[in-house]
């Protein structure tokens, strides 16, 4: 499996420890599978298990932490995620995530929006948001 990761240039999740998935405190879930996270950030899964709408916040495509999140947490490439959003937006089957300029803004928006999900460096997380660990 290690060879596979090296070959495809994807990091091991151990390298992702400095980056966390964050959610609004109203989100009841205590942990999440990686493939569910891909469905959420791929904008295919729209509601939490209690039917609260999911609101996805991301940093711009070129941002280093966005690339870090894609490669090490989701284990997909940023361009794959972009392609998935475009497929949804231009066929009407999905919507685009909300893109914000900075990590501080992203954390603030996740803390203010019920059902929100995003990601952040651990050092920027405050008690206004919850961390959602991978299962």
């Amino acid at each position: 499996m290690t060879i596979l990761w090296l070959l495809f240039g994807l990091g091991d999740s151990a390298a992702a420890l400095d980056l966390a998935v964050i959610v609004h405190p109203s989100v009841k879930q205590s942990e999440i599978r990686r493939n569910t996270l891909r469905a959420i950030f791929g904008m295919r899964m729209r509601v939490w298990s209690d039917d609260t709408p999911i609101k996805v916040f991301v940093l711009p495509d070129g941002d280093a932490n966005h690339a870090h999140f894609c490669k090490d947490v989701l284990q997909v490439f940023p361009h794959q995620l972009r392609r998935a959003w475009d497929r949804g937006v231009y066929s009407g089957t999905g919507q685009a995530p909300t893109q914000v300029a900075s990590e501080a803004e992203l954390v603030a928006l996740v803390s203010e929006t019920p059902g929100a999900i995003g990601y952040s460096m651990r050092s920027s997380i405050d008690d206004q948001v919850d961390e959602l660990p991978l299962q």
């Binding site: 469905a39 997909v76 361009h79 919507q95």
Partner: protein
């Protein structure tokens, strides 16, 4: 020149679209959840693309063989979506397009539907879309008119042929969709049941060999696609099967032979690898066509049905030199009739086309530059042997077409 693409026979489908828009505007405010306004979920996106094409001999999308080339390939789209309640999304898109003589300028409702996500769990979801829905054929068809979602200016024409493309655009009816997820695998299924759009003169020419005075009407058709996705899209494998049905109603002035009943049954197998720099995509299609009820002036000639199966495939490699710049190399093959691969197909035997109209083999070299996330520039060069996917209206005299021909194209596209 701009016209509405709906011909008189498809007023019904236009009305269905109008009803959906009305539904979108009239949704009662009372259904809005308390803490989030309905308009907070609204999104508007769009795109506009312009191409220039220059070919050596045959024309593609306008008079591309003349010295100044052709500017007659333009596309724009505007879409909106909104989520009035958590598991319902309303979406609509209008697309304008001009593509040489075969599409001299049209604006049409590309999709407009209500999407009800009926069940959503940690391991998957299931839902239904009602209205005009895109046809989920193979990898690229759902967003075929959006340059940013294509790998090249022209999609591989063997499968995504732009001549006679109408039946592949969208259908009025329902789509059932579902997704099942496990650790690293995702299986997605979409099934359309409805009436495909048929408004297209190129389609008439493809079926009847000429423009016809009567009207083509689509019949209840179906198409289903499954995609297996491993490691978040690193590997994708798909299969599509459809049964698309259309009928022709002749007019008394219709004095030449025409086809009363048309069925198109495509089977497409798709595979893709997406690496950090390298991408490989291959698709293979068997396209069965069944023609029945041959008539003159609406009188059935009592001739036996004609059936043939075309074969199409391509393999495409892309290489990402940087996050902004991507190169493309593709080999794309079309045979109109797999039993008469290099001549002897119906086009040649019944309609007087040269033997090279029975196939096309296209080497494509392309380069894409994503100047900014919103602006894209693209160039590509095609070396083609055969004229199987040439647009007929751009080349009115088939016997004067050249067997070996080249096409160069550049495109600029903007989106928001």
């Amino acid at each position: 020149m701009i016209k509405w693409t709906s011909c008189p026979s498809s007023n019904a489908s236009r009305n269905r679209g109008a009803m959906l828009i009305a539904l979108l505007l009239l949704l009662p405010e009372s259904r809005v959840s308390a803490d989030q306004g309905i308009w907070d979920t609204a999104q508007v996106h769009g795109f506009i693309s312009q191409s220039w094409l220059k070919s050596g001999e045959n024309n593609f999308f306008g008079n591309s063989s003349r010295s100044g080339g052709s500017w007659e390939f333009s596309e724009f789209g505007l879409n909106g979506s909104i989520r009035p309640i958590a598991n319902v999304q309303l979406s609509g898109q209008v697309i304008g397009r001009r593509a040489g003589e075969s599409d001299p300028g049209s604006v049409g409702l590309d999709y407009a539907f209500a999407d009800w996500n009926m069940l959503s769990t940690e391991t998957g979801f299931f839902g239904t879309r009602f209205g005009r829905v895109k046809i989920p054929l193979a990898f690229y068809n759902d967003t075929r008119d959006v340059a940013f979602t294509r790998p090249s200016i022209l999609l591989p024409q063997s499968i995504y042929f732009d001549a006679a493309r109408a039946l592949a655009l969208s259908s009025d009816g329902v789509q059932f969709y579902g997704e099942a997820r496990s650790e690293d695998s995702t299986l997605t299924l979409q099934t359309n049941i409805g009436y495909p759009r048929v408004e297209d003169e190129e389609l008439e020419i493809a079926i009847h060999g000429r423009e016809v005075p009567g009207t083509m009407d689509s019949q209840l058709s179906f198409l289903a696609r499954g995609i297996y996705d491993y490691l978040g899209g690193q590997w994708r494998f798909g299969a599509t099967y459809g049964n698309v049905h259309a009928k022709y109603e002749a007019k008394p002035t219709d004095i030449l032979p025409s086809v009363g009943d048309f069925r198109f049954k495509p089977l497409v197998l798709s595979g893709q690898f997406n690496g950090e720099r390298v991408g490989i995509t291959a698709e293979y299609a068997l396209r069965r066509t069944e023609l029945e009820d041959f008539m003159i002036g609406g009188i059935d000639l009592g001739l036996p049905p004609v059936e043939f199966t075309g074969v199409s495939y391509y393999i495409q490699g892309t290489y990402r030199f940087s996050p902004q710049v991507e190169g493309l190399l593709r080999y794309d093959v079309l045979h109109i009739d797999r039993k008469n691969r290099h001549g002897g197909c119906l086009l040649e035997t019944n309609l007087g086309f040269p033997d090279h109209a029975c196939y096309a083999k296209d080497w494509t070299f392309g380069l894409t530059w994503n100047v900014t996330p919103k602006v894209m520039l693209r160039g590509e060069y095609h070396m083609v042997n055969g004229t199987g996917w040439l647009t007929r209206k751009d080349n009115p005299r088939p016997t004067e077409t050249e067997k070996n021909w080249n096409l160069f194209a550049i495109e600029a596209s903007f989106r928001f």
